[in-house]
Point group: C2
Chain length 370, copies 2
Amino acid sequence: MTSAVRDQRSGARERRGSIGSQGDSGRVPVDTHEAAAILERSRASVDPELRAAIDLLPASMRRVALYHFGWEHADGTAAAGNAGKAIRPALVLAAATALGGPAARAAALRAAAAVELVHNFTLLHDDVMDRDTTRRHRPTAWTVFGDADAILAGDALQALALGLLAADPHPASAAAVARVAACVVELCAGQQADTAMERRGPADITLDEVLVMAEAKTGALLGCACAVGALYAGAAEEDVEALDAFGRQAGLAFQLIDDVIGLWGDPLHTGKPAGADLAARKKSLPVVAALTSGTPAAGELAELYAAPYEPADLDRTLLAVERAGGREWAQEQAADRMARAMHELARAIPDPESAGGLLCLAEFVTRRSN
Amino acid sequence: MTSAVRDQRSGARERRGSIGSQGDSGRVPVDTHEAAAILERSRASVDPELRAAIDLLPASMRRVALYHFGWEHADGTAAAGNAGKAIRPALVLAAATALGGPAARAAALRAAAAVELVHNFTLLHDDVMDRDTTRRHRPTAWTVFGDADAILAGDALQALALGLLAADPHPASAAAVARVAACVVELCAGQQADTAMERRGPADITLDEVLVMAEAKTGALLGCACAVGALYAGAAEEDVEALDAFGRQAGLAFQLIDDVIGLWGDPLHTGKPAGADLAARKKSLPVVAALTSGTPAAGELAELYAAPYEPADLDRTLLAVERAGGREWAQEQAADRMARAMHELARAIPDPESAGGLLCLAEFVTRRSN
């Protein structure tokens, strides 16, 4: 991590301190453990809802969903389950708790499951479109079941998610469906921008449009998760919007760090082969920052990106992105977005004791680079 | 049309007479004109809702949707529009009118648009999966914009549909979202069964499973359209279910006739090249009926279907389906399903004056074979 990023990140922590303090002792380890505990508790609460919802699917859709969530092997036998970190349902529950206490959390379980179903519907479809072959250390659903089954299972998961929310007797149900549906449209636009960008030459692409794309593709659903939690807590409209903005900024920070991990992360941890993003000539945020940096390394990177990928070029390409400032830019941007997220959070929830869970999750996702 | 089918069809008309009569004069031409007028009036009411909804999409999704609906050419210039017959929204409005009069019809416009959006989302995705290149006399969206954009536009249309319904202040809104969402899951299962069947040998496939598939793939949404109209009229649960069953049976009749038209229809009217279904070795209802007929022609058809399609074989293949009784079976089944539909309709709406619009639409879709 660069010192600039370190400064910005401790700045974020100071801002966090400025809206109240949970004390300075053992910040990093405590937060990480706290986040892990929040994620685990969220999963324990949401998984039964998720399983019950998926069990409602016809067998042909259910087997793809159970495989995708890691609960079944391709042959239909039970698996231990590896359904990712499930940050989005945790954000729903944390937002509901922050604004409405344990009763709101309990009421929002179904909504949390719905948000996670939406996320997984988009993953199923994105993997088909991007021809990604590995997710969560396993072959993607389309490689196992074919394109049609993966597309249809995704379609069914979207319907399941919105139907589940609509059937929820909670008074926030209709507003939540409308909000999640609008978010899906934004997710689609983000993915469309992403795939369209992949077809364009790297020289045409601006950093601004990649940021807009990333906000739509990743920020929107994290924002929506927080906003749905707020809706289920009966929050005022302006607080719902502030939580949406919080989630969006944290989501963008998450994406920036995810892109950094996609380039420099350990394949054992990412579950993707080393260099996969480079091999696909993905115009991820650090890469576009590097390409548009006007540095000599940018020219070298542009040349490398113009030629087909060779595994032998991996280290040289990574070095070019780094020398052109792509890695540092992404880490600074992530810190800046986190600071904005904290600001939005403080607007809606001035009491840091109440905001604790959301803070913890937001910091957790941007600390994954360590 | 065989005389057996003619008898069954006039039987259906007698049943229609038995639940009351609109008079005998000029049955066929009057009904056809009446149905055309109902469809036209429905389109005039629903199109503005549909356009307004699609206008809410981001530009990248909107252009695919506008092209798919025939409102724009591929280059984004305005087109006259050819969005199909739009039977589903007409069924929503006819059901609402039948059970709740003009006020219910007016209240159900947004729901009618939502059902049409769902139908078109499935068409966009089905065309990608089936690699169909022509729809409504034009190149399919995926051939123009690519798979990813067609998949994403479909995803966005589903979200738009369910979000539109959820945001509707009508008291039936939540029940309608839940019902439409459940229907989408069934549509997906139907399409999955269809694509899975295409990969299997013709000898393995039973007529029953093709009927079940067709009910899920086509009947479900026509049933859902009628049920949503009933919900918007504030109908009792049993009447909602009867209208769902009416639509399902009429939908199956529609699919049977559609399959017949797919084989023997005039390409100028179907918008699909002659022999497209045979070339794709599609196991449509008449083909499976023929293959499982145990006749000598079934053997000939099985042999033809085992070999790659040659345009020169078109006439011989069609003749084999016909000689094996596939065409007659489909037409008889269609008449039988229509009779069941009439029975369900009479349960919910004993007054044929009120049921007139629904009767008219149901008879219209099964009269397309003439």
